[in-house]
């Protein structure tokens, strides 16, 4: 990587730029499917959430779920995108065992949401990624090949679940940007409540378009599409491997074929799925079972008025109002749950301490235990109490860490811990002076050394005084009184 953090792949005096565009498939958060009333709940027994419509029985007709439409509009607004007042559902025709209708209802020519943008916070500043479009479509079912040795089994629970396909412009230039882009997209949708972004459950997956070109060139190279990658890590691995494959071809003077590829996570390489010649002819045409979708300005306005504060705006507010650094603000707003937790804590406590404690101790615990902040073992209320104990001098920051460790076990109240364990800080100047006198008496040789110029020994006296106080002495007070005694 070069100094200005540009991502370039080097080959003997040549530098290649990697061009990436993502088609993200985000499952719409909704009770029921896009065109039927079946539940969308994850993890149910196979084929228990399938209506006659989902299984494409004869004479069954799709009926649009208005809530999914509103979710798509909401997401569009979150992406600062144009909401198209008229859009059309098309049929994408192909045969597969887990596609009961023999076509997927999708939006082709006229998507519900047009151009928008996503702002990325990169280490060297902000970068805008263009959104080409967002459209609604049905998910397919799931083919299971590894249960029965002779047959493929099909689970239609997912069949008909609403997906938003969010297509970016080819504006991404590195695996890092892809990481930040996906996280930002996920964050925006989680703020909006339109997609839970759960990659393990397949709520968020992406087709990755990759091409390469020599640095400085303006034309795009031939791209390849890597289908259905379901984690950020795999997306990054796939991009690096695919970009290098393409560069190797160019270096050998060969041409890149436009094709669809699959990423083999075990071998860390992409392989051809089908070439352009073999590309499906999906025979898109407007679904005659559904009227064109018309959205009123009133509905758009109503949804707009319900849009919560989004990460970019929240970040700005945190910086302006709480004087946080952009870095701190970015971390705190990255997830709606985190920012809610933060705001809950600072309702009754110091902002600076809260920021440090959340991004420091709390995050460390969450990481260690692999928990989401929503599962935090310490509640915002109790963390807030702990911070107040530090702030009013009842306990020292060091003691607070001990208290915090105990709080983790069942979200205990820090006040009770401090009381029961007698951890209250000693802030009586007389008591402090007494124990300092003791330290000075017991270390007369060190005092002499200090007075003859060995300033470094000051820390030693602080340590001894702290030890004498069994860790409860107010550090500021110890410092102050020690200085008076030794220098006086």
């Amino acid at each position: 990587m070069s100094k200005n953090s540009e991502y370039l792949i080097e080959r003997e005096n040549k530098q290649y730029e990697v061009i990436i565009g993502l088609e993200v498939h985000a499952q719409v958060t909704s009770q029921s499917k896009l065109f039927s009333q079946s539940s969308t709940k994850f993890g149910a027994e196979p084929n228990t959430q399938v209506s006659l419509v989902d299984a494409a029985f004869p004479g069954m007709l799709p009926v649009i779920n208005e809530f999914c439409i509103e979710q798509a509009i909401k997401t569009g607004i979150g992406l600062k995108a144009k909401i198209n007042k008229k859009s059309v559902f098309d049929r994408k025709n192909y045969f597969y065992a887990d596609l009961p209708q023999g076509y997927q209802i999708s939006q082709y020519k006229y998507p519900i949401v047009g151009e928008g943008k996503v702002i990325l916070d990169m280490p060297n500043g902000q970068k805008e990624i263009g959104i080409e479009r967002l459209h609604l479509e049905q998910d397919a079912g799931k083919s299971i090949h590894d249960i029965d040795p002779n047959n493929t089994l099909v689970d239609l629970n997912r069949s008909g679940v609403a997906l938003m396909e969010i297509v970016s412009k080819p504006d991404l230039r590195s695996p890092d940007e892809v990481n930040v882009y996906i996280k930002k997209l996920r964050s925006i949708m989680r703020y909006l409540g339109t997609c839970d972004g759960n990659m393990q459950e397949g709520s968020l997956r992406a087709d990755v378009n990759v091409s390469v070109r020599l640095k400085g060139e303006s034309e795009f190279g031939t791209r390849c599409e890597i289908k259905n990658v379901n984690s950020i890590k795999f997306m990054q691995m796939a991009i690096i491997s695919e970009a290098n494959r393409q560069i190797d071809l160019l270096e050998e003077g060969k041409e890149i074929d436009q094709e669809t590829r699959l990423f083999d996570t075990k071998r860390n390489e992409t392989r051809s799925m089908r070439s352009k010649e073999d590309a499906h002819d999906y025979r898109y045409f407007p679904d005659p079972d559904l009227l064109p979708l018309e959205i009123s300005q009133e509905l758009i306005e109503k949804i707009k008025s319900d849009i919560p504060e989004l990460p970019d705006e929240k970040k700005k507010r945190f910086i302006d109002k709480f004087n946080l650094s952009p870095y701190e603000a970015t971390i705190l707003v990255s997830d709606i749950e985190t920012s809610n937790f933060f705001e809950e804590v600072i309702k009754n406590s110091d902002v600076k301490l809260a920021t440090n404690w959340i991004t420091g101790e709390l995050f460390a615990v969450l990481n260690e235990k692999n928990l989401e902040i929503s599962q935090s073992p310490v509640s915002a209320k109790n963390l807030s109490k702990l911070i107040n104990l530090i702030k009013d001098g009842t306990i020292s920051g060091k003691i607070a860490k001990t208290v915090f460790e105990q709080m983790i076990d069942g979200d205990q109240d820090p006040l009770i811990i401090v009381k029961e364990k007698g951890l209250k800080q000693e802030s009586d100047p007389k008591a402090i002076e007494e124990l300092i006198n003791k330290v000075i008496e017991n270390n007369s040789d060190k005092v002499a050394e200090y007075k003859s110029g060995k300033d470094k020994l000051f820390g030693f006296f602080v340590g001894q005084a702290m030890k004498e106080s069994k860790g409860k002495g107010n550090p500021q007070l110890i410092n102050k009184i020690l200085k008076e005694k030794l220098n006086g």
Partner: protein, 486 residues
Amino acid sequence: MSDITSQSLFELTSNIKEKKLSSEEITKAFINRAEKSKKLNVYVTDNFEKAIDQSKKFDSNPNLDFKLPGIPIAVKDLFCTNGVRTTAGSKILNNFVPTYESTVTQNLWSQGAILLGKLNCDEFAMGSSNETSFFGNVQNPVGENLVPGGSSGGSSAAVAANLTPVTIGTDTGGSIRQPASFTGTVGLKPTYGSCSRYGIVAFASSLDQAGPMTKNVRDCSILLEVISSFDQKDSTSIDYKRNYYSKELSKDIKGKKIGIPKEYRVDNMPEEIEQLWKNGISYAKDCGAEIIDISLPHTNYALPTYYIVAPAEASSNLARYDGVKYGFRSPGQNLIEMYEKTRSEGFGDEVKRRIMIGTYVLSSGYYDAYYLKAQKVRQLIKKDFDDAFSKVDAILTPSTPSSAFKIGEKTNDPVSMYLNDIFTVPINLAGLPGISIPAGKDKNNYPLGLQVIGKPFDEQNILNISYALEDKINFKNDISDWWLSE
């Protein structure tokens, strides 16, 4: 009292309400006649035992407020019926028993009707002669070895042969009106959006409409009243105030402006059809209607447009019959082979032909030239009618360019078969209501029909015009019961 099975729906309903007949008597009469009419091959699946049980149940506690009190009715086998096999005339659904009921048939049962059975039809409603059915062709009761029209051929034959008092069919390009015309019966295709498509095996979604097929116009108005309803389960269903069609039925059409489109005088149209049309015009004048010459300039393009749009939608609608979930499956070594064998063996030739046409016209590189252009022409055809309806209240045309033809006469010539739909197809493309009423006979004494086309949602008007014409025409179907066996 005349023979039970020859009575109209209106008569049967009156007799039940006046307790002159029981539902059981009526139901058994139709079943007895059906047992002796197997030669016509109208039934794919009968429901006779259950129908008798239900008629007894009705009689034990009759609700006479119903519009179809204890009336047994057989329906086209394109309507899904809960617990009763529904085949769409295809091998691929030979074993298919729905667990749900179409909205239109549900509307029948909710008004007291009883299911007699499922009537033969062209496979997936693709045909004009009922010869594409997997369950064999249907005989037209008008004459031996004559087709009953299609695709609702079993339905038209059953009404004409007094095997059901009334029935319902579906009409995508003429599948109600053409068979009605061929059998001397009345058939109405309502405005697109009038009758729910929920639970009807789809052929071409933007064209399909269910409608009544009856012996006379009054019965037609009663049945339309029952089956037409707004349905949230069909996104193309339209929520509008429906008329009380049977109550508002009137022969007074004085001052109504009736348009005669010059483009419907097609080349080589038989003299008899020309004469039929002239007679219709003079009857309309007799009723006090005003006749106005109009032009529907894009009429010539309707048939080619239809044979792009309908197969395109069908090719996609029929993709679900793949052997995976229900219906016929022919096993294969892998998924592709299973698909190929299932669909090759499960579909008949006409269905395959249309799937191939439809797949072709939607293919990349051909889409713009065929499908997109067809959609544009469809708009022009619709506009023709809009313009015409700014001048007239209804349009009068022949229903078909010929009377019923012989079984096998056109099976090897799809294009000449398609030409049968020339007068009915534009109405589907424009989404308008159209009705065919029997209006005369040709030299062989085979029935011929006239079609009355209306503005959207103006079924009442075309019913009234038909009602008035019916009275003047005084058509009598000449059916000899030649097929009856003992």
